[in-house]
């Protein structure tokens, strides 16, 4: 266990292993995404109430779910980097933020595009939507904080502190927003998907959720590889790698 942990902390090992993982994972992910999208767009029956607009669910729900999970990945990496001072955790944390923000953005945009045909409005202040917006702010905060520091070692620590503070707060934010919304007259709009969903619609959805998770992993590894290269550009193993590349 500990040796594995040590290996995880070693840049050359992570660089090499992520390279060989990505070789298979990335094409598989892209394939799954393609299949899922085509399946969802063209090969499923329309919803009996929403018609064809419900097809957005195949990108909306996965994006929202992975965006949420991404914050916890980021905070966990942040905690590890603070406690064990592990360089790779730092890098992982800092690489999570832009991906998470992008997925949150996708969830918001697709949700609000979906809202227009179903609710007749681009935006409502629904509990879940509001907390998604707050999540976007949390992500943007981490990104902006990292960019603002010159000393990147210090930047990573600062972001770790911030993401931990955010983690303590996320349940509070979710609970409070939920509670806030139920206090008011709900705006007579409800998510529809909560009722049982037909298997012919469910399978592509599950596929897309899996694909989005895989995509998150791919993007994270890709980003980390680039970042590792940048930070370790003066070390021996990168030089060797370059020579091997050149030959």
């Amino acid at each position: 266990m500990w040796t594995f942990f040590h290996k995880l902390g070693s840049p050359p090992w992570l660089y090499a292993i992520s390279g060989s993982i990505l070789k298979y994972l990335l094409p598989a992910t892209l394939l799954a995404l393609g299949v899922g999208m085509v399946w969802g767009l063209l090969f499923t029956p329309p919803d009996f109430r929403q018609g064809d607009s419900y097809r957005i669910i195949y990108i909306h729900v996965p994006a929202a779910a992975v965006a949420l999970a991404g914050y916890y990945v980021m905070a966990t990496a942040g905690a590890i980097s603070l406690i064990w001072k592990m360089k790779m955790a730092d890098i992982a944390m800092q690489c999570c933020a832009p991906i998470g923000a992008a997925l949150t953005f996708v969830a918001l945009v697709t949700g609000s595009i979906w809202g227009k045909p179903t609710w007749g409005t681009w935006w409502v202040w629904d509990a879940r939507i509001t907390s998604m917006l707050i999540l976007l702010f949390l992500y943007l905060g981490v990104i902006a904080l990292y960019e603002a520091y010159d000393n990147k070692a210090a930047a990573a620590r600062a972001c770790a502190v911030l993401s931990l503070v955010g983690t303590v707060n996320i349940p509070i934010i979710y609970k409070s927003v939920d509670w806030w919304y139920s206090l008011h007259q709900p705006a007579s709009i409800k998510f529809t998907g909560e009722s049982s969903i037909h298997p012919s619609m469910l399978y592509p959805l599950l596929l897309m959720i899996a694909a989005f998770y895989a995509l998150f992993a791919c993007a994270l590894l890709l980003r980390m590889r680039a970042e590792i290269l940048d930070r370790e550009r003066r070390t021996g193993w990168v030089r060797k790698l370059l020579e091997a590349d050149a030959v």
Binding site: N151, A154, R157
Partner: protein, 195 residues
């Protein structure tokens, strides 16, 4: 009192110093020299424990320290007296009489109750230098303490440092001018990463 081992620092792609090891012992008066941008301030901040990321090597401090940086840590809205009485460095509570005596020593007699923003550049710095007459930390780290100080002030400061060292303290300071008085100074010269 302080030992540094294998300190190495690069900033902005330039190596400032590397493999720097030394000990500071009681009774030593150490002047860090070097051209502008040689890394004196960076080194001092590492020694003080203010910089904690982005350098290599280890620093061990075995004594309470007094650090005065480029910024004098003097609040413009407080008078010199208040600045010293409420200083945030967590040292002893200085008595009112001790504070007035220290202010007199740095030539601020009569300015004790003037708001610090109405002081001249040199007087402003002198407020912070008054802590040299109040502190009982044995180890002093001073970054260009003579900035903006006039000739008499520099002489008085040199004397104070010598007295502190004679009493078993240690002083590490940076300055572009050699000390005028005839003191026993150990020099650390930062030049292209070498000592």
């Amino acid at each position: 009192m302080l030992s540094a081992q294998q300190l190495a620092l690069s900033r902005g792609g330039r190596e400032l110093f590397g493999g720097l090891s030394f000990d500071i012992c009681p009774g030593q008066l150490v002047q860090i020299e070097g051209a502008n941008g040689a890394g004196k301030t960076s080194l001092l901040r590492i020694l003080a424990g203010l910089s904690r990321y982005g350098f290599e090597g280890r620093v061990e401090r075995h004594a309470p320290l007094l650090y005065l940086g480029h910024q004098p840590a003097v609040k413009a809205m407080l008078t010199p007296r208040e600045n010293l009485a409420w200083h945030v460095a967590g040292e002893a509570d200085f008595g009112a009489a001790a504070i007035d005596a220290a202010l007199a020593r740095v030539g601020l007699y009569g300015y004790e109750d003037v708001p610090s923003h109405a002081l001249s550049a040199g007087q402003h710095r002198r407020v912070s230098l008054a802590r040299l007459y109040l502190s009982n930390s044995p180890l002093w780290l001073l970054d260009e303490p003579f900035t903006a100080i006039d000739v008499d002030g520099v002489a008085a400061l040199e004397e104070r440092k010598a007295a502190h060292v004679a009493a078993g303290g240690a002083v590490v300071f940076t300055s572009h001018q050699p000390m005028r008085g005839n003191y026993n100074v150990r020099r650390l010269c930062l030049r292209r990463g070498l000592l």
